[in-house]
Amino acid sequence: MKRFNILALVVFIVAVGGLFALGPGGTQKVQSTFLGIISPFLKTGSELEKKITAVRGGLKTLNQLETENKQLFVRNKELQAVNSTLRDLESENNRLRRALKYRERAVFRLVPARIIARDSSTWWNTVRIDRGFEDGIESDMPVLTEDGLVGKTTTVARNMSTVLLISDENCKAAASIEGTREQGIASGERISTSGIPLIGMRVLSKMANLQPGQKIYTSGVGGVYPSGVFIGAVKEFKVRELDSYATIVPAVDLTTLEDVFVVLGNK
């Protein structure tokens, strides 16, 4: 082996060793920096993709109307999301007031965001949104739409963030089932055998006896997700040796998702 190659190998080993020594904090910094570098390219690519799709669909709109339409669309989605959240909170409030006289919960502060890229990896379900810490976003913030839960933020760069989708095995949310006192943990499946990403609900009691179509909501336990956010509906229910397991169809169509809202906190 030539001297240059030996030197290159030594430098390579030292550099890789240095990367391995990085903790989660260091990794997050590297990721955040790289996302900052790549975000203009992803945004441009996303715009280009949209234009190509629009041309392909034969859509011809005036710039002004398009801008106005976009603004109204975002506003409409935001209002729908707030509305949906209000409905959930209203029913939750009524229930809690009657039972425990809990104080009225405030509605969320939402930041609208657009999905600019989807993860190209095989094993992880993430998307990138065009909002970052400049917009007040931090890691572990819930992401939702007017239809229900989408996931949570992980790595946050200046004007881009990564959202771990609820269909990912690593995204876990404490959940409760409509009309029962059953609680469980909802998280994605490593590989979905059907075309659409599904969610699994674990740690259910053997007595749960869930029916297809029953709705699953976040329970608020764990601190990341607020309670009452719609996760999805039961598709299948299986009793296992020690517990039972439910397959859930996500409330949000995660494959065609374009606009989401990041929950910054309560109003």
């Binding site: 190998l9 590297v30 790549i38 992980t154």
Partner: protein, 195 residues
């Protein structure tokens, strides 16, 4: 040679960006299209070993920076952050497969372009398989989940390789054209190294 190395690094970055906009292929059980490994494996044939390692480092770092998952887990009642597959693992996988590919340089020197095509298919599948094994081991250690291997997983691993197999000749032609444009002759460089 150095100029071509930087060209390959830039092309790797561009291919990583393009990859983000290619949806999974339904007819191949949602297997993904990977473009960056095609560039890396071309580099493994066209560049000397030292520069291949540098390219593997660049590609692996970019891939890890895009896909590394930082998780919050509870250890002894305390919440702590952990990285699912640490930065650097992809670099090691890329460098190992790049080293294997480097071993085929004598065939490349003799003009056997199909080596890039075949090996890109095999190595791309091996990359996806390595990722799957790493995360399976990691998740088993964290939450004691069982090792699962379904036909669907097999398709995702094999499908990625099949796609790479079909795309490799196009990538080979584009990268060879770029080498010509920067005045680098990979085959002549291999011959020079040997002599």
């Amino acid at each position: 040679m150095i100029a071509f190395f930087f060209v390959l690094l830039a092309v790797s970055f561009v291919s990583l960006v393009i990859q983000q906009f290619i949806p999974p292929l339904e007819f191949l059980h949602h297997a993904r299209v990977f473009l960056m490994p095609l560039v890396l494996f071309y580099g493994a044939l066209a560049l000397p070993y030292g520069l291949m390692l540098a390219l593997a480092f660049g590609c692996g770092l970019m891939w890890d920076a895009m896909s590394a998952q930082i998780l919050d887990i509870k250890v002894a009642g305390m919440m702590t952050s952990t990285v699912e597959i640490a930065l650097g693992w992809s670099i090691l996988v890329y460098a190992t497969l790049g080293s294997v590919m480097s071993g085929f340089r004598p065939l490349f020197k003799r003009g056997r372009w199909e080596i890039h095509c075949l090996m890109s298919g095999v190595c791309t599948s091996l990359i996806v398989l390595a990722e799957f094994l790493m995360l399976s081991v990691r998740r088993a250690a964290l939450d004691h989940s069982a090792f699962v291997f379904t036909p669907e997983i097999g398709w995702r691993i094999g499908g990625a390789g099949l796609i790479a197999l079909f795309l490799a000749p196009i990538a080979f032609w584009i990268l060879s054209t770029l080498a010509d444009l920067v005045g680098y002759n990979p085959r002549a460089a291999v011959k020079e190294e040997d002599s």
